[in-house]
Amino acid sequence: MDNCCPVEGKGTRTGVRSALLYSLVLLIVVLLSCNSASALPAFARKYGMPCSACHEAWPMLSPFGQQFKDNGYQMGNDRDAPIFQQAAYWPVTFRITPVWHRESTSKAQVDGSNGPGGNEAKVTTQGFDWSGLDFHTGGTLAKNFSFYVLPSSDNTGAFHFESVWARIDNIGGSSWFNIKMGKFELDNLLSEKRILTLTNQAGVYQNYHFQPATETPGFYTFGIGDNQDGIEWMGHSKDDRTRISASLLSSNDGSPGQPTSRGYDAFFAASRAFEVGSLGLQRVGGFAYLGEAPTYFQYNLTTTTTVGTDSDTGVPVTSTATAGYPGTGIGNKGFQRYGLIGMWYIKKFDITTIYFHGTDNAYLGLSLPSTSTLPTGAHSPGWNGGLFESHYMLNPQWLFLNRYELIRMSQQALPVVAGTPYTPGVSVPTSGFGNIDALTFGMRYYPFISSRAGFAYHAEYSIVRQRNVSPVTGSDLTSSSLLFGFDFAF
């Protein structure tokens, strides 16, 4: 789900007053509201089950929901094929979230006494807004043929395809042989697409998208949380305690049309769950993403376009632009992401812990073509990360959550020269240049649990600090988000 964009607003004090007022109103609404409703998202509508059966807290899956998903959105009762539904049934759910949010960044680049873009200032915005819109459609085409299509928009209404895949399930009657092809979420146990946080800062997992601060967007923009294009084999035990998958992916970070590269990546994941008495189901696992990204285009193409006419001479005015020929990215260099995950349940409390390790080739780490010479002292950047996300489910209606993520560079791509600002291609100021700390608190309250629709009062605060990356002075950059919203799906 796309998250909210910053909006224009008033000053900070007004924002705090508004937030307090809104919180009070929200609290009253929450306390007074215990109504039920009749409406249902696609799968619940098909099977007549409450959201809480498949979702620990919507949209996060429960073990039962994970099994349902792994089984190709099938219960396995020989009533999964659409032929058993009324002909009018069409598996569509939409989700959107009207919100009020406040965004603050401690050091935005602004004009000032040092000239255009030469100064930094704290900028805070706030106001009412809404998220992007997701149209989920998925389910079974026939027994053991499942699909998922997700047109998704940002909050301007610009749509793209977030997911497009079909899957052949239980091939040969074995739950260990399922093949999916299309654009899909990687087999991440901690799903970013089912993330419980919605703010600009915490709507994605920092560790899933981290790239060293010495890299500039271009050929190589990658996130393990992004849906990828490819083919996946996935297998699981009947009770879903053991899960394993391997994917072959186009090296384009889920973009359509192979815009840069003809290369391929691979993703592997495996996990095993075990029961610990009355505590619940514990799961441990690991994953690895091994990829290559191009560093330059094999061919360029210069195009000339007419942009107007000279008013004096009447001669057309043209503009030329040179760009890489799509799909001819070469000079591939490697990158890797590894992780170990534990999902620990202690009755109503659960915590997910993840250890990440990532490395990029030095050319990727410096965004240089592989034909160029690396700067003196250049290295392949490496980093370690951690994630701790805890939930307390008071009951199926109340969820409290907390998340802390940290990312620590273990090897910078450039030499560290203390006391000097970051100089691209030369040096970085500290060994911790680009390190991240992110802290989030939130709660969701589901006023009704039905098999018809989903609704949640959502409140969240998130703050992220990045070391030495402010745009002008190279000092620490802190950004925060506060959000209240009505998250609903039908």
């Binding site: 089950m49 349902f68 619940g280």
Partner: protein
């Protein structure tokens, strides 16, 4: 020897059970369901207090907040969700009319009911399922006033022979199984359209040709057990009093040959005979697969 009178009596009892059970409950009006129940599954002890949280997360949408099968989704579900207040259960290892063992309910949760909206809950932990079993027992006073009976004995399965299959076929006729299940086991016998369950809802007899999974399990022992315990709350009676164990096994062997699209040792052996091959070939329907998962 078969006693047709007993068979008729058992069928009548099975049809009357839905009426009898509420009457029993009325008689037991002095007894109230207990709010605190336990279940015992091997080394596990389930607690109803823990099961309540699970029930109101997973189950109440169909089975209802009070366990009487009137959840919000019940009107849209066929067959109807189980009414736990009645305290009658289909899949038991105990004789007809008696309460099931905790393990029977536990196994049902793990297995689900094929061709219904009740899925397998094997994804839950064993403790979760044990807790749910304990909580289900809080809905009916039967769990206070009665104890589950001893499970019926299941003797070792005799050797599979063609004669066993043929004898089973004869029993299928003599016991008049075909009246409900149809001569080919397709659930389309002459009485099929008249049957109702304990909720007075229409219920279809099992169609043996669609799957090798019955509602209470997929093994030969499961079939034997269904035959001997009956499915309480449905018109399927117990035949424990009228059929010898060895005859029951013969019937199980024959029923497997009705599952013409699901390979089994019984079907393979049956097809080695000219008679069996002709029958099976005639039953098989060649058609274009519709994607339903069911091959007629």
């Amino acid at each position: 020897m078969l006693n047709i009178k007993k068979i008729c009596l058992n069928v009548a009892v099975a049809l009357i059970v839905p009426a009898v059970v509420p009457a029993q409950q009325a008689d037991q009006s002095a007894a109230k369901p207990s709010k605190h129940m336990e279940s015992h599954i091997g080394n596990l002890t389930g607690h109803s207090e823990a099961g309540a949280d699970l029930y109101y997360r997973y189950c109440w949408g169909c089975h209802g907040a009070r366990g009487n099968g009137d959840g919000d989704n019940a009107p849209y579900i066929s067959p109807q969700p189980r009414n736990f207040v009645a305290g009658t259960f289909k899949c038991r290892s105990t004789p007809t009319g008696t309460l099931p063992l905790d393990t029977d309910l536990y196994d049902t949760l793990g297995r689900g009911f094929n061709f219904t909206n009740m899925p397998s809950w094997a994804a839950l932990t064993a403790q979760n399922r044990a807790d749910l079993v304990a909580f289900i027992k809080t809905f009916s006073a039967r769990w206070v006033t009665e104890k589950p009976a001893d499970p019926i004995p299941i003797p070792a399965e005799p050797k599979l022979t063609v004669e066993s299959i043929k004898h089973g076929g004869e029993l299928f006729q003599k016991l008049e199984c075909w009246k409900c299940h149809g001569q080919e086991g397709r659930g389309d016998g002459p009485s099929a359209s008249t049957l109702t369950d304990s909720n007075d809802q229409p219920i279809r007899p099992y169609n043996f040709t669609t799957s090798n999974r019955s509602k209470c399990g997929r093994t030969n022992a499961d079939l034997y057990r269904i035959f001997m315990t009956g499915l309480d709350g449905t018109p399927m009676p117990s035949f424990a009093d009228v059929v010898k164990p060895e005859d029951a096994w013969d019937l199980v062997h024959y029923l497997r040959t009705l599952q013409v699209n699901n390979p089994s040792p019984e079907l393979t052996m049956w097809e080695t005979t000219a008679e069996g091959k002709a029958i099976v070939t005639a039953k098989r329907v060649r058609n274009t697969y519709t994607g339903s998962g069911v091959t007629p």
